[in-house]
Structures are given as C-alpha cells and as structure tokens.
Symmetry: C2
Subunit: 180 residues, 2 copies
Amino acid sequence: MQDEPEVAVLRYGHRPGRDDRMTTHVGLTARALGADRVIFPDNAGQSEETVEDITGRFGGPFDVELTGALNATIRDWDGVVVHLTMYGERVQDVEADIREAHQTEPLLVVVGGEKVPFEVYEGADWNVGVTNQPHSEVAGLAVFLDRLFDGRELEREWEDADRNVIPMATGKKVVDPDAE
Amino acid sequence: MQDEPEVAVLRYGHRPGRDDRMTTHVGLTARALGADRVIFPDNAGQSEETVEDITGRFGGPFDVELTGALNATIRDWDGVVVHLTMYGERVQDVEADIREAHQTEPLLVVVGGEKVPFEVYEGADWNVGVTNQPHSEVAGLAVFLDRLFDGRELEREWEDADRNVIPMATGKKVVDPDAE
C-alpha cells in the first residue's frame, strides 16, 4: 500500500484452463486486500487480462505481470520472502516478526499451485501455514494479508476508478466517482 | 466451534463442472477456519465428497450437507443470517455486532455464487462486504471467519484425524496421531 514497502504476490504454478479461476482469484484477492502487485506465470495471460480489466474499472494502483522465471523471482527478491503452505509455521506465531520485517523491506508472498519444489521452501525466509489444514490458497492469502496489514487494507482508497460501490445495508449501489 | 453456538456456511448457487473447485474451496475453508458445517446446493455432490474425504483424513467434527431448498434454509434459519457481498456494509463496521449476536445465536453465513436474488439480501440480518471490491467469495469467507472468531479458530483441535501436519520452518512433516 501507499507509503509502505511494497508487497508483491507471486502465483507459483498455473495450469491453463483448470487453474484459470483460482489464479484470477489470487490476483483479485491480492489487489483487494492491500498488495501492490501480482506476478503470474507466463502461461496465465487470461488471468492477467481479467485482473487488469478489474483494476481499470475499480481503480488502482495495482500492477499485474507475467514471468517466465518463477524461481529467479524468489531467488533475486530484494527483501523478505514468505511462502504460504499448510506445512509451515503457524501464522499466529510468526506474523509479528513478518510485520516487523515488512516495516523496512519489500515483501514477496509466494502462493503455491499444485506442486511446489523444495527450493521454494528453502528460498523462503518464512514458510507460513494459515492453519495446517488443507483448504484454499486464496483463503490463506486473504487471511495472511489481513493480518499483515492489521486491517489497514480495508481502509485503502482507490485512484482512477470509473465506478465505486457504496456500502449498503440492503441492495446494491454503484456510483461514478467523477459525478460525486 | 465447540462450546459456541453453531456457525454454518451456505453456498448459494453452483454450476457443476465450472464451479466445482470454488465450491470445494468454500467448504474446505469453512472447515479449516472454524465453521461447524457447510451446506451445498444439491447439484454439488462432487464437492461434498471431497470435503467429506478431507474431514475423514484430517479430522472433525465437521458436517457437509446438500440441500434442494436454498431459500428455505435462509428463511427458516433459527438464528442470525449474514450474507457476504461486495455491496454490503463494511465488515470492519459491523463485525462487533455480529460477534455479539453470535454469542447467543447460531449463525448462517451465505456465500454467493454468480447470481444471488434480491430476497437473499432482504432475508439477511446483515449484508457484509469484505471490501467493496470484486475479488473472491473464498477470500471473503476466510477473512470474515477469522474476524468472527478473533483468531480462536487457528487454535482449534481436530478429532479422529488419521494424520496431523506438524508446523515446520522448512519442509513437510506429517504424523499418525495414534502413533504419537
């Protein structure tokens, strides 16, 4: 988020067709919950388009990139690397240390697909489990970001949106921000 | 969770094939993050099987049900109904009231699929947005449950598991609980 070291989310692995929706949801969750950027594998062009389209309509800043070099992105990251995995340390035990590290350093959050090689576990500064139960990489990312930012991400404002949703007790209200 | 009024998650809407993974992830997220039960539409039998299989291996208690009566499940719910939607009130504004209501009453969390009719908005005690941005119903559910339970769900213990994952800084460790 603005005025903080960058948070980027790396989707590690993607099977076109089968993973399109999950990868798109990783990207949209990263955007909605305070990350600055998502990096997809280079075969996830369809998810890239969807996330760019949402950013164009609902605002940014938020960047989407493709890479052919997943391992190098982790290896060469100039900052802290967190890998979300059900085998990792408990998020409630390590989140304070990660929050502190992110006060001064950019953070890369690696979200696995099906098969994550051992070098990712070794390359991460923290392997973190949002529970040690099998559930959803999207759910794990969401809880992790909400805890990393301590809820601040819910207050973030969006620039260059062509529509804003106005919170309502019942019903739907969408306005054009330029007309407000 | 044990010793608290029930929390059930209702997946509203499912398209077989296209939604299988999302619906399964809704169910697994409900289980991992403290809900007692998930209710799927009756055409989501494949997701039901997957969630039951995970519960059999990683433990419970957690129930999975199918229903042909989504609207009646909401209408007849004996307790509080929360509908997660990007058009709703901000979660940070209403979570304290919902938490208080859940101290004495069972809570039904409705997670939409593609098209949610207006009667769901009207039937809910709260329509709640985990951000007013488009992202993922799985992410919204995860953040909502983590906030509802105030992190207690991460400490829950599992019964009748035939495997336990032991949190590790690096690598994977899975043990048979009966052999511990």
